[in-house]
C-alpha cells in the first residue's frame, strides 16, 4: 500500500500539467525579436494574426512555409498577418532554413522557448489564429496537406470580423 502511494506520488510529480490553449481565450502575450525589429502581438491588434511556431529540424514546418507565403499574399491586404516564431536553440539553424525556404511574412526568434510555453504548444509545427479582438480563434498542431482548406476557411472567417 505504501509502495503504491509512493508510486502514485511520483507519477503525479512527473506528469506535466496538461493545459491547453482554447478558442475564445485571450491570446497570451508575444514579444520577441525578429528579422525586422521587435515582433509584438499586441501591436497587431485589429488584424487577424496567424502565429506559427516552427523549427529548422521540423519537416512539416518546411512544407508550411510556401502555404503561409501564399496566405500572406492572398489575405495580407485584408488585414491578415503571419507571424512565424522560430524556436531553434541556435540562430544559425534558423538562418540556414530561411535561406532555403524564403518567407514573405514576419519572423520572430525565441530560442529560449518562453512563447511556445505561454501558448501551451503541444506539437511542432503549431499555429494559433488570433482574431482582431486579440482572442484565440483556432489552435492547430501539425501541417498536413488535407488540412490546408480548413485552415484557410478559418482565416477567411476570422477576416470577416476585421473592421
Amino acid at each position: 500500500m505504501k509502495l503504491r502511494s509512493l508510486l502514485l506520488a511520483t507519477l503525479v510529480a512527473i506528469a506535466a500539467p496538461a493545459l491547453a490553449l482554447d478558442a475564445g481565450q485571450p491570446s497570451p502575450a508575444l514579444d520577441v525579436p525578429g528579422t525586422q525589429g521587435q515582433v509584438n502581438l499586441a501591436a497587431l491588434k485589429g488584424k487577424v494574426v496567424y502565429v506559427d511556431f516552427w523549427a529548422s529540424w521540423c519537416a512539416p514546418c518546411k512544407q508550411s512555409f510556401p502555404w503561409m507565403n501564399e496566405m500572406q499574399a492572398k489575405y495580407g491586404a485584408r488585414g491578415f498577418q503571419v507571424v512565424a516564431v522560430n524556436v531553434d536553440a541556435k540562430r544559425e539553424d534558423a538562418d540556414k532554413f530561411l535561406a532555403e525556404v524564403p518567407a514573405s511574412f514576419t519572423i520572430g526568434f525565441d530560442p529560449k522557448g518562453d512563447s511556445p510555453k505561454r501558448f501551451q504548444i503541444k506539437g511542432m509545427p503549431s499555429s494559433v489564429l488570433v482574431g482582431p479582438d486579440g482572442h484565440v480563434v483556432k489552435v492547430h498542431a501539425g501541417f498536413r496537406p488535407d488540412e490546408r482548406k480548413a485552415q484557410e476557411d478559418a482565416i477567411v472567417a476570422a477576416l470577416a470580423l476585421v473592421k
Binding site: A55, C58, G113, G123
Partner: protein, 74 residues
C-alpha cells in the same frame, strides 16, 4: 519493518523522486533529438525500409526519431 527494507525503500524513493526533476522535453526542445545521428540505424534509406516493414507488421507507427517533431504529422 527490517532496517534493511527501510533503507532500501528510502533509497528507492530518493532515486525515484530524482526523476521528477527531469522534465520531458517540450515539443519545441526536440532539436537535438531530431538530428539524424540520434536514430539507431546508420543508413537513412535502409532504416526507412525497415521501419516500413515494422510498421506494417505492428499496425502502429511512430517512435523512431522525431522527424515530424512528435506532432504525428508525418
Amino acid at each position: 519493518m527490517k532496517p534493511l527494507t527501510l533503507i532500501t525503500g528510502l533509497a528507492l524513493s530518493a532515486t525515484l523522486s530524482g526523476c521528477s526533476t527531469f522534465a520531458l522535453p517540450q515539443p519545441w526542445e526536440k532539436g537535438n533529438l531530431a538530428r539524424p545521428e540520434m536514430t539507431f540505424g546508420g543508413d537513412a534509406l535502409e532504416q526507412r525500409y525497415q521501419q516500413h516493414i515494422y510498421t506494417s507488421k505492428e499496425a502502429a507507427s511512430g517512435g523512431s526519431g522525431i522527424g515530424g517533431g512528435g506532432c504525428g504529422c508525418n
